[in-house]
């Protein structure tokens, strides 16, 4: 088997899930200059509720996936209403928004633990039929291909939406300059709520895909991806969606290659964070960022 090619393929798949997760993060940051640290909790709840829908309600994954995504979006609206909207008038709204998102994350984690128990669960076997292919000495499963396609589709749809549709343009206007948007008649608070909806929906979708890929979901599954998501958006440039996608892929690849070369997965995180650190010092705007450092 072609070792390097297989590792590259591995990295590609995990990278696309990271990218999808990071896109939600960066969307909120781009529009509001706020880091929503409850994003990982939405990721977890999205995945877990999809499992519940398939297992307890007997739904097919094709129905459960969009439903779980919508549910995650709803959680995003909740986060906005409870944690961010009340604080927007404040001078230190970025800082306090960060803290209140931490609070929401704790509450959501508690909910996940309470509703789903501590044990890890998986989608029932046969949820998705998996074919295994061998192409040029590399093993790929149909599930992996499906996940990459779905992730790509979602990201393409999002980009088109932001570019072409009216709401999308309104979102970009608010991101540029909130006051000007308001003067132009844009319903700013509605747009912000909608942004949270999309961002969290994508996060929840990433959670479902992650759970399908790894056959394992637990209330603490957000823990590892939380920090990685931050690293990804810094790498790609905060506020840039193509940056988040690129960053996710780059990150996935670097992770896999580090593990492959060193034989241990501990260094994997060290490499990631050292890269994050270096980027913050040398080029805080990341690969594709907007070049402007935000004030505290």
């Amino acid at each position: 088997m072609n070792l390097l090619a297989q590792q590259l393929v591995n990295g590609l798949f995990i990278g696309s899930v990271y990218g999808l997760f990071a896109v939600g993060y960066t969307l909120v940051f781009g529009v509001l200059d706020i880091l929503n640290l409850a994003h990982a909790a939405v990721f977890t709840l999205g995945g877990l509720s999809a499992v519940w829908l398939v297992q307890a309600a007997g739904m097919s994954i094709w129905l459960a996936f969009p439903l779980a995504t919508l549910l995650a979006g709803g959680l995003g609206l909740l986060i906005n209403a409870a944690a961010f909207a009340p604080l927007r008038r404040r001078a230190d709204s970025q800082f306090s928004g960060l803290i209140s998102s931490i609070a929401m994350a704790i509450i959501f984690d508690a909910a996940a633990l309470g509703l789903f128990g501590a044990r890890s669960v998986r989608f029932p076997p046969g949820t998705v039929k998996v074919h295994v292919w061998q192409i040029a000495g590399v093993t790929i499963t149909s599930l992996q291909v499906g996940i990459v396609l779905v992730a790509t589709l979602l990201m393409v749809v999002l980009t088109l939406f932001l570019q072409r549709s009216r709401t999308g343009k309104a979102i970009r206007t608010v991101a540029e300059n909130e006051r000007a948007a308001m003067l132009l008649g844009v319903n700013v608070s509605g747009i912000i709520a909608f942004t949270f909806f999309i961002s969290s929906a994508l996060g929840g979708a990433a959670g479902v895909l992650y759970g399908l890929y790894f056959d394992s979901l637990a209330p603490d599954m957000g823990r590892s991806i939380e920090l990685k998501g931050l690293a990804v958006i810094v790498l790609g440039g905060m506020g840039s969606i193509p940056g988040a996608i690129l960053g996710g892929l780059a990150f996935g690849l670097s992770e896999v290659l580090t593990v492959a070369v060193s034989g241990t997965s501990n260094l994997r995180d060290a490499v990631a964070f050292t890269v994050l650190f270096a980027i913050l010092l040398l080029r805080p705007s990341g690969l594709l960022g907007r070049g402007k450092l935000r004030e505290a």
Binding site: Q6, N10, A118, T141
Partner: protein
């Protein structure tokens, strides 16, 4: 108002005093057992299992005891962190005045909290601590969980005998005391049997993606993959190994951590043929075990795992020690009672303590066949 804040302070202090003072007064005829399990945090899935096993044992003992010595259980959560474990030990020992402590779930926590019990002189019976350096803490520390040092060499010997393996790769978690010491024992056992270790790969607790390491392992073409992991990671490893196309005749051999029905539940088909060295065999025909599995499954709607079995046995062992000592709250007497336990019938088999207060009963080698654990016969 300074007065208000001072009032608040005193109110809090008084409230705490009241909480301490109102711990229930229990007659000397009932034995107070403190249970320290991780009900939240990283080890929660094991703690929950242990509590289920322990609760079942307590209920059954009390039903059978009638007006005799009853068990008064006090369950506490150490949240998988030693800080909380310390607080809980202090509360149980000094506040609730328990006669014996069962737990804690994690070896890491035990290393920090057990010295407290040793210093004051309270028996601790570990029911899941398998790392090194636990019973060495002192002569009040016991455990009924068969250490990897006993289980693994037996497993390797049997595997070599029946499968003729010559070269393997060692894959283990290097950030957990349990999996790391398991790997150390595997390494020694493999070397003792003259099996070549082609290479080693590691992972961290909480990892879900093992494809990079498994890809490397696959390229080395070992006869078997030796794996020291807890069940969460084990399921993922087994699954992804087969997904990557590692053939079924390259067996995966694991230690105590694999011994849980969660393995089959989460890894499904991929778990077939996995070999597990364990302290407990769910399909053992020992009548005590059959009854245990039956009662447990009826009460909780799912089968028990090794953690539940060892917790269940632990309660019985501690109770027996108290009966032998003839006291419900004599802490030293109960410790002496523990030393007298020999060949006691438990679902784990005939149980005794070694000189070092470790578990002494026969380990098993299991194989996953048809979605169930059965004794490995090839």
């Amino acid at each position: 108002m300074k007065r208000f804040s001072r009032f608040l302070l005193w109110a809090t202090v008084c409230a705490v005093f009241v909480a301490v003072a109102v711990s229930p007064a229990i007659s000397a005829d009932n034995i107070k057992m403190g249970f320290v399990f991780s009900m939240t945090g990283g080890a929660a899935s094991y703690g929950v299992s242990q509590k289920e096993g322990a609760q079942l044992a307590v209920d059954q003992i009390n039903a059978a005891a009638g007006s005799g010595m009853q068990v008064v259980p006090i369950f506490e959560d150490d949240a998988s962190v030693p800080q909380q474990g310390t607080n809980v030990y202090n509360k149980l020992i000094n506040g609730d005045k328990v006669a014996v402590i069962i737990g804690p779930t994690l070896s890491n926590t035990a290393k920090i909290t057990n010295p407290i019990a040793q210093q004051i002189g309270v028996t601790v019976l570990g029911v899941s601590n398998t790392a090194g350096g636990i019973t060495e803490i002192g002569d009040y520390i016991f455990r009924d969980s068969l250490t990897e040092a006993v289980v693994i060499p037996n497993t390797i010997r049997v595997a070599k005998e029946k499968l003729g393996i010559k070269k393997v790769v060692l894959f283990y978690g290097n950030d957990d005391a349990f999996t790391k010491s398991g790997a150390d024992v595997f390494r020694k056992a493999l070397q003792a049997e003259g099996i070549q270790i082609l290479g080693e790969q590691t992972f961290a607790k909480g990892d879900r993606d093992f494809s990079p390491q498994l890809t490397q392992i696959k390229s080395q073409s070992p006869d078997a993959i030796i794996c020291s992991a807890l069940v969460e990671e084990a399921s993922g490893i087994v699954n992804q190994a087969r997904q990557l196309g590692i053939p079924k005749n390259v067996r995966i051999i694991g230690g105590n951590g694999f011994n849980s029905p969660a393995l089959m539940k989460n890894a499904g088909e991929a778990a077939e043929g996995v070999i597990v060295g364990a302290a407990w065999n769910i399909s053992s025909t020992n009548p005590l075990n059959v009854k245990f599995v039956e009662d447990f499954t009826k009460k909780y709607n799912h089968p028990p795992d090794q953690f539940a079995a060892q917790a269940f046995a632990g309660v019985h062992i501690a109770y027996q020690a108290a009966k032998v000592a003839g006291t419900a709250d004599g802490r030293k007497a109960i410790r002496d009672g523990m030393l007298k336990i020999k060949g006691m019938d438990t679902p784990l088999g005939k149980f005794s303590f070694t000189e070092g207060r470790d578990a002494d009963h026969t380990p098993v080698v299991l194989e996953v066949k048809g979605g169930k654990f059965s004794v490995f016969v090839k």
